[in-house]
């Protein structure tokens, strides 16, 4: 999934020059965008191919951090910091916590090479192809003038979120609330079954 996203961002970088000032004289920001995209792609590949499970989680940090840098280059400053805060600061820490709590051996673990590898590759390629098609179709002539726009500032993001997209936003928060309550119910139910419920 992350590999697919990374490929899509790289493709978007190549295409971003098309509608505006053209391909052959890329600006510094565009070059940086493509280079960071390559780092994201490479680290995402390492996440799924490394045979050391904690290293996979650490490469995921590089992938997600690279994506945050891509957001920054696209002037989406607010989204970039939220990406760092939520994905690196919380999700990866939770992931590492779970790994250390269960098993996190140092060195290679052979059982990570499972037979499900090929179906997984198939799904990843399919997702990448779909995303690429959609992104290319939607944005192939879009051009973002980095010098003039502040489309990604907290003010603009907040206004569009709470004026235009307020219904999806509220529906999403109901979904998260349902997940939260579900988690509480599941954990309490198990405690009761053990005879140790409160």
């Amino acid at each position: 999934m992350t590999a697919g996203l990374a490929a899509a961002t790289v493709a978007a970088a190549d295409l971003s020059g098309r509608g505006g000032p053209g391909f052959l004289s890329p600006t510094g920001a565009e070059v940086a965008f493509v280079l960071i995209g390559l780092v994201v792609l490479g680290s995402a590949l390492l996440v799924v191919t490394t045979s050391q499970i904690v290293h996979a989680a650490l490469w995921l940090v590089v992938t997600l951090g690279g994506l945050a840098a891509e957001y920054l280059l696209l002037t989406a400053e607010f989204i970039a910091w939220v990406q760092v805060l939520i994905y690196i600061g919380a999700v990866v820490v939770l992931l590492l916590f779970g790994l250390m709590l269960t098993r996190a051996p140092i060195g290679r673990s052979t059982e990570l090479d499972s037979l499900k590898r090929w179906p997984a590759v198939l799904v990843a390629v399919g997702a990448t192809a779909t995303l690429l098609t959609v992104v290319v179709d939607a944005f192939h002539s879009a051009y973002l003038d980095l010098g003039k726009t502040d489309d990604g500032s907290a003010r603009v993001t907040g206004e569009s979120l709470f004026r235009v997209w307020v219904l999806p936003f509220e529906v999403l928060s109901v979904l998260l609330l349902a997940a939260l309550i579900g988690a509480i119910v599941l954990s309490r139910g198990r405690a009761d079954a053990d005879g140790k419920g409160r």
Binding site: F78, W81, V82, L85, G89, L94, F97, M100, S153
Partner: protein, 319 residues
């Protein structure tokens, strides 16, 4: 902004990062030495033991840099840098005085500082895991559990100030600040400072490094300069936390004669808070793991939510 100006600002931030954590470390030696009547830290070099810091530096530099045989070498060596660098990055966004006295004014400043501070904890996690030591792994687990519990109240308290000011930018928040925000945001300030202490694993929240149980937690296997870097990260963390609390809740550079002496007010408030951090270390016993979790989930989070409600109500009332 010209290239030269950017470089000068970055150099100044780097200088602050190199000087102030050491000042805090030296102050801790002296304050603890006097408060607990310890002879060691106030002996070296005669006058209040001024040479202790130098002696410590020489000691750390002399020690052999040992990597345990069973360790994951690369991750083990990288961990101290991951722990230290985020605090340096955060300093860029903290305004020191009125006007343009800030490394770089960032539009989503509150999010920037909290996001980057959270990255530093990865250093402890990596170090603890890569050490191939059960005590280290336990320390890492406690670090992670503590971070997850205290990140939320810290964010909520920060959000309360951002809501009051109507901006996420740290310079913008200080531009809006009035003296009556002190009582208005007081609860949020206490929550922020407490949660920040827990995130830095400072006493009384030092369960992850509890020396009487798990030796020194994630840092047990570290020696020499790498260990010193972890310690430096702790002091840099104190600096960042105190400066942030000053900016968000104590009005930063606001004060009498703030047009000329604003930077002095920031330093003074930060210094007083740093003294409080040290004071808490020598006067409070360590909280147990279950007490830690309980304090965060049943104490600080409801308080932070109540502060958010209060902020919202007052904002609507005065609008």
């Amino acid at each position: 902004m010209t290239v030269v100006e950017v470089l000068v600002r970055l150099a100044l931030v780097l200088a602050a990062f190199l000087v102030f954590p050491l000042v805090i470390g030296q102050t801790e030696h002296k304050v603890m030495g006097h408060m607990q009547a310890r002879v060691g830290p106030i002996y070296a070099g005669a006058f209040h033991g001024w040479a202790q810091l130098v002696a410590d530096g020489v000691k750390f530099a002399q020690k052999e840099d040992v990597v345990p045989a069973g360790a994951d070498r690369r991750v083990f060596r990288l961990a101290p840098a991951i722990a230290l660098i985020p605090y340096m990055v955060v300093l860029i966004a903290i305004p020191v005085g009125s006007g343009d006295l800030v490394g770089r004014s960032i539009d989503a400043g509150v999010f920037f500082v909290l996001a980057v501070m959270g990255v530093g904890v990865l250093g402890s996690l990596m170090g603890g895991w890569a050490s191939a030591n059960k005590f280290s792994l336990l320390g890492s687990l406690r670090t992670a559990a503590q971070l997850m519990a205290y990140e939320l109240p810290m964010l909520l308290a920060g959000a309360s100030v951002a809501m009051a000011a109507g901006t996420l930018s740290l310079t913008g928040i200080l531009g809006q600040w009035e003296w009556w925000w002190l009582p208005w945001q007081a609860v949020g300030g206490v929550v922020f400072f407490t949660a920040g202490l827990a995130e830095l694993q400072r006493p009384p929240f030092d369960m992850p490094v509890a020396d009487s149980e798990i030796i020194f937690g994630a840092y047990t296997e570290y020696t020499g300069l790498r260990f010193a870097l972890f310690l430096l990260a702790e002091y840099a963390g104190i600096l960042v936390l105190c400066a942030l609390t000053t900016v968000l809740f104590l009005g930063g550079w606001h004060g009498p004669w703030s047009d000329d002496l604003g930077w002095l007010w920031t330093l003074l408030k930060t210094g007083v808070l740093a003294f409080v951090v040290i004071w808490l270390r020598v006067s409070y016993p360590r909280l147990r793991e279950d007490q830690l979790q309980k304090l965060a989930w049943t104490g600080l989070i409801p308080l932070a939510l109540a502060q958010l409600v209060l902020t919202g109500v007052v904002r609507v009332a005065i609008a």
